[in-house]
């Protein structure tokens, strides 16, 4: 019997819609990749084989590079309260505009006496001041880093009733004595557990 030929229809699907969806997803992922926060000093973190990632919230960051240390607190409310408390401790009053500026800042890198000036400057001048300053003083005479850490912990306890975790992002070629000093300051407050930030490498 002669085979009945079924009229064949075209099997090509119109891919336009699929293409649109794909590019939409792509755009979403590119935008949600967080924009890189610039470090105040060039920090080249050492490599390690640990695969544990840092928790998102409730972590304060100490950036150490070139013998200077910078302190970053997360969350605008926590920053505001820490600033105000540091202000009362050192008898420096901060105006609401300055507080707002501080909330947008990524990190603290100038001694508290210069902080008021720093908040009033614009981006270019700030960069210059950060490069010239020595970060937060870590010597025992001024005890500034100790106080920043202490106030941040108090604020975190008040806001979230959880302990503030500390992470240290240090430059690979940082001399050990600097790290020792910072760890000693943390240990003085009985902060004995912290995380060291590293980049992933194969074992």
């Amino acid at each position: 019997m002669p085979r009945i030929k079924v009229p064949r229809k075209s099997t090509a699907i119109d891919m336009t819609a699929m293409c649109d969806v794909a590019f939409l997803l792509l755009t979403f992922f590119i935008l949600t990749a967080k924009p890189k926060t610039e470090d105040p000093v060039p920090v080249d973190t050492p490599k390690s084989a640990t695969e544990v990632t840092l928790p998102e919230k409730g972590v304060a960051l100490l950036t150490v590079g070139k013998g200077k240390v910078f302190f970053t607190i997360d969350g605008p409310e926590a920053r505001k309260q820490t600033l105000l408390q540091m202000g009362t401790k050192y008898n420096i009053g901060f105006t609401p505009t300055e507080v707002k500026q501080f909330q947008t800042l990524d990190n603290v890198g100038v001694p508290i006496q210069q902080l008021k000036q720093y908040l009033g400057m614009d981006a270019e001048q700030r960069k210059a001041l950060t490069a010239a300053s020595k970060g937060i003083p870590t010597d025992s005479v001024s005890n500034e880093l100790y106080n920043w850490v202490h106030e941040a912990r108090v604020v975190e306890k008040n806001l979230t009733s959880k302990e503030l975790l500390f992470s240290i992002k240090g430059d690979s070629n940082e001399e050990y004595p600097t790290m020792q000093r910072i760890i000693a300051i943390l240990q003085k407050q009985k902060v004995n557990k912290f995380s060291l930030i590293t980049t992933l490498r194969a074992k």
Partner: protein
């Protein structure tokens, strides 16, 4: 009259482009970005220091199962088991074949001879860099030596480092 190659090309050609390849490329890029943004999160290596003020009330660990590692300058380190001066320290590097092998071997031998796990004391000198300390901790994690402590170096040990030219 000019012949147009025999065929009259007045028929309009189809303008539909096959988008399959474009979609493949787009999904490849999406997968790439999905994976790389999770890897970008900085990894954290936990470090717990003993409490400074607390006096060590536990029984001191036997010297036969402690390994002391002194971190010197120029990415060199030396290690010895037991008390300083009793056994000659050996200078080695931070590579996979150097300190990792040593840690694994000694871990085995201490386990066999004393039945307890090895305790590693890391003493970084002033001439060592942060990278050395992190590498050392990393090697300890990789070789599963979880009993370790970072302490300050003593002048006698600085002397040992000087003697071996890594200070």
């Amino acid at each position: 009259m000019v012949k147009k190659g025999g065929k009259v090309r007045s028929k309009k050609q189809s303008t539909r482009v096959d988008l399959t390849a474009m979609v493949d490329l787009a999904f490849l890029l999406v997968t790439f970005f999905m994976l790389t943004t999770t890897l970008n999160k900085p990894k954290a290596m936990d470090l717990a220091m003993p409490d400074k003020d607390e006096v060590n009330t536990e029984a001191p660990i036997a010297a036969s199962r402690t390994m002391t590692v002194l971190l010197g300058s120029n990415n060199r380190l030396e290690w010895f088991i037991g008390e300083p001066g009793k056994s000659a320290p050996s200078v080695t590097g931070y590579g996979k074949d150097d300190i990792r092998k040593v840690l694994l071997d000694k871990k085995q031998s201490v386990q066999q001879s004393t039945g307890k796990s090895m305790f590693v004391i890391v003493k970084p000198s002033d001439k060592s860099v942060y990278k050395n300390v992190v590498d050392m901790l990393d090697e300890l994690h990789i070789t599963d030596n979880m009993a370790f402590a970072i302490v300050d170096i003593t002048p006698a040990e600085i002397g040992l480092l000087k003697r071996d030219n890594i200070y």
